[in-house]
């Protein structure tokens, strides 16, 4: 899968990969009305990562259904719509509008975007609020629901439990990590929005920890997101127990990266003599071993 906000509406990547290979395309977050997004600058590169403050720029649900969705539907690419509202009512109305639309296989509820003033993070950082959003959406649609969690909380497991309790079928984590950057010469923030969300390889260790905590807290399927750029990265999340992964920032650097990851995972399964990825998912043994040096010599028969 590809992560919301990093793959546009799919079309942008058609020159680089066969979109039908993808498990699903999670499209850029959609709101009821179109949103212009934040003023620029909206991006800044950081060590092994980037901060974005796009501000959920999107064409609105009407234009999406009319002119964006058909492209993916015509190519039989399953679409997961990432939804976002300023109020509970907006979430509910949006979910209702998308209910039963052919081509859409699930909704991903974005309660965790740090880049907008109202809504977003506030819903995502409080278990009770998270539950109310999920509940409102749940009542408005029969589509499977994925709740996308933010890492910017003390106990991500609590939010996870609240979302599942309110009817979320799955969870995805993580959204970006709240961050900022400043320019020492102009003495100003590097983003017009001051704050933004950190993504990319830098956040993978945090995303793995969050995914692990969420998997300990709930029983539902979890989708791993955060810093995935190689098959190895993807397999790490699956090893923890994530049933699927989404690739975000890496798409910008290697537009064909998802195809490469799929190839790499197949190779891995073959080398490891596994029939399917199911046999691998969640097989983490919590006991750690000394991870090195055996490469020099085949011995592994320690006491």
């Amino acid at each position: 899968m590809v992560a919301s906000g990093t793959f546009g509406y799919g079309e942008e990547y058609a020159d680089f990969l066969d979109l039908t290979q993808l498990g699903a395309v999670v499209v850029k977050g959609i709101s009821l009305a179109p949103r212009p997004g934040n003023p620029p600058p909206r991006l800044v590169e950081t060590a092994a990562g980037m901060i974005n403050a796009i501000g959920l720029e999107n064409v609105g649900v009407d234009v999406f259904l009319e002119s964006k969705l058909p492209y993916l539907r015509d190519r039989h690419v399953p679409v997961i719509v990432n939804i976002f509202g300023n109020t509970l009512e907006e979430y509910a109305e949006l979910a209702a509008r998308l209910d039963g639309v052919p081509g859409i296989v699930a909704l991903e509820i974005n309660i965790s975007c740090p880049n907008v003033k109202s809504g977003g993070m506030i819903f995502g950082t409080d278990p009770a609020m998270a539950a109310r959003v999920v509940d409102a959406v749940r009542r408005s649609t029969t589509l499977p629901l994925i709740t996308k969690l933010t890492p910017n909380v003390t106990h991500i497991g609590e939010i996870a439990r609240a979302a599942v309790g309110a009817g979320s079928d799955m969870l995805s984590c993580i959204n970006t990590v709240a961050a900022m950057a400043v320019d020492i010469f102009t003495r100003r923030p590097k983003l017009a929005n001051i704050f933004g969300g950190l993504s990319g390889p830098a956040v993978k260790p945090i995303a793995l920890r969050c995914t692990y905590e969420v998997l300990q807290a709930v029983d539902c399927p979890v989708i791993g997101i955060g810093g995935i750029a190689t098959a190895t990265d993807a397999l790490e999340f699956l090893l923890l127990g994530a049933r699927a992964v989404q690739v975000g920032t890496a798409n910008f650097i290697q537009p064909a990266v998802t195809a490469e990851i799929l190839r790499g995972m197949e190779l891995f399964l073959r080398v490891q003599k596994l029939q399917s990825v199911e046999e691998y998912i969640g097989t983490l043994d919590r006991q750690c071993l000394f991870p090195f040096a055996e490469i020099a010599c085949g011995m592994t028969d320690l006491p």
Binding site: E12, K28, A47, G49, F185, T249, P255
Partner: protein
């Protein structure tokens, strides 16, 4: 126009002006497909430092020889690593991207080009295309106004003057040619010499582009300004490269264009210049510490 990935090979890299390098890359497919004014995203170094690709214009496109040239200035981490690449290094390109320059319809009337600093990069290919397709127009009716902060940052004479076009140089510090901003040089010269361009092309810092845009709007001259923004993807997916734009008719909401897919070439009228506040850049010395 489809875009693709190509593994290019560095054929040559030379410092042609202060902190300014010209890179020749073997990239056959890209050379075949690219137009003047388009750009590509370059992975300047293997690995994760730096993480993102960097956008660069096609400085020259040689489909015959299967190679392209890039002219770039070292301003930060990415361009610094790039400047240290030896010939034979492989670099991954993603392109060609963006809309490119349109050549003027009426080939008979003069053309004005304003270049600020490294903004000269895409304009060189444009000048060659203009010359190739100029019809009845004389080479010297192509007027290039070329300024930089200081003499050392300007490309050598021969590269441009030899083409027979009219070149007017200036420097902010007066160290070469006109003493002052290139937009003032342009404004004054256009007035004195009664230059009425059919199209005004420009590339350079946003502050310069603002003045160029104002002139174009005042004089009702169609303009093609090559603009910049910070980019992550270059292909319209991240929505990071926004610039404030005039809203579509009937709307008062904020509106943004995206430099990578709607541009990088824009008409002066499509940008809301008053919403762009720029400032000077840091002395490069600190960027690599």
């Amino acid at each position: 126009m489809s875009k693709f990935l190509e593994e290019a090979l560095i054929l040559e890299q030379r410092e042609v002006a202060q902190q300014t390098y010209r890179l020749r890359l073997r990239a056959g497919r890209m050379a075949e497909a690219a137009c003047a004014g388009q750009f590509f995203m370059l992975q300047v170094r293997e690995g994760m430092d730096p993480l993102l690709r960097r956008p660069f214009s096609f400085h020259r496109i040689h489909p015959g020889e299967g190679n392209i040239e890039v002219l770039y200035r070292v301003v930060g981490r990415g361009t610094w690593w790039l400047s240290r690449c030896a010939p034979q290094t492989r670099l991954n390109l993603l392109g060609p991207l963006g809309n490119g320059f349109q050549l003027p319809r009426n080939a008979g009337s003069p053309v004005a080009i304003v270049a600020g600093g490294i903004g000269i990069a895409p304009l060189c290919e444009l000048i060659h295309r203009l010359l190739a397709s100029r019809g009845t127009l004389e080479a010297r009716d192509i007027h290039l106004f070329y300024g930089a902060r200081s003499a050392g940052e300007l490309l050598p004479e021969s590269d441009l003057e030899d083409l027979g076009i009219s070149v007017y140089r200036g420097t902010d510090d007066g160290s070469l040619g006109y003493d002052g901003f290139v937009t003032d040089l342009f404004r004054k010269t256009a007035e004195e010499k009664h230059i009425k361009p059919s199209v005004l092309y420009a590339c350079g810092p946003l502050a310069m582009q603002y003045h160029v845009a104002r002139w174009a709007l005042e004089h009702r001259v169609p303009s093609q300004l090559s603009l910049e923004s910070l980019m992550a993807c270059g292909i319209g997916a991240c929505l990071g490269c926004a610039l404030p734009a005039s809203a579509p008719a009937g709307s008062t909401a904020d509106h943004y264009v995206h430099v990578c897919k709607d541009g990088p070439i824009f008409g002066a009228e499509s940008i809301q210049w008053h919403k762009i506040q720029t400032h000077g850049a840091p002395p490069p010395i600190f960027l690599y510490s």
